[in-house]
Symmetry: C2
């Protein structure tokens, strides 16, 4: 298990299109798989819909976690990156319009809202194979 | 997006070997990828090490979430299952011994502790392709 620095972690995150957002909703922890893009600041951008628990979380500027990984179930090698930071709604019309163009939701529901997660804390590690003991 | 019932959800979870556990640690949300087994009650069993944040969470019998999914990044089809329930440490010697035999940790660290997550709430859905509008 090898630790990754912030830059390596963000690069890995940029190279995949989905991850899982974790937050608290009605006092219970929730994890939701979503597709994302990573903006120039290394922040996570995701789309969501009116009424989504995540939108309420972002409206309240709560701290959430975003995790992405690629781990091979056969070899047990790969990586995991975790971003922790404040979620907020994107309301600037230009940014909204740009993110709506650049990020297409995977589910067939109206997803008119955009949430940004600030990359305040970034941690990551790589799982490497270890030689068997002699 | 088609909802799955409890039985279907548990069956899908049993068919994969890893997922992500979500909980709160020092007032911040955390997501960790781990490998699991599903016991006969549909509860999630995972191994962990002394000093792990998850072990403290389980010792305090806090509610956590466990999520697993298989979503194809190209076709955007697949499924996601989420279990919410109380985490606790397995301390019964027979159960400990059995789980240590049945569940091998993927990382090369001493993982002598076992945590069980009760399947109190089980939700799941399947993402299906939708025909393009005419």
């Amino acid at each position: 298990m090898v630790e990754l620095d912030r830059k390596e972690s963000i690069t890995l995150l940029t190279g995949v299109s989905m991850g899982r957002v974790g937050f608290t909703h009605q006092a219970l922890p929730v994890i939701r798989p979503v597709n994302h893009l990573v903006n120039d600041d290394g922040d996570i951008v995701i789309r969501t819909h009116a009424g989504a628990a995540l939108l309420a979380t972002a409206s309240a500027s709560e701290v959430v976690v975003y995790e992405a990984d690629q781990i091979d179930e056969a070899t047990h090698t790969g990586w995991s990156v975790m971003i922790t930071g404040t979620a907020s709604r994107v309301t600037d019309p230009q940014a909204l319009s740009r993110y709506r163009t650049e990020l297409t939701p995977w589910i067939n529901t109206e997803m008119e809202h955009v949430v940004r997660i600030r990359a305040e804390f970034v941690t990551g590690y790589r799982l490497e194979t270890t030689p068997s003991p002699p």
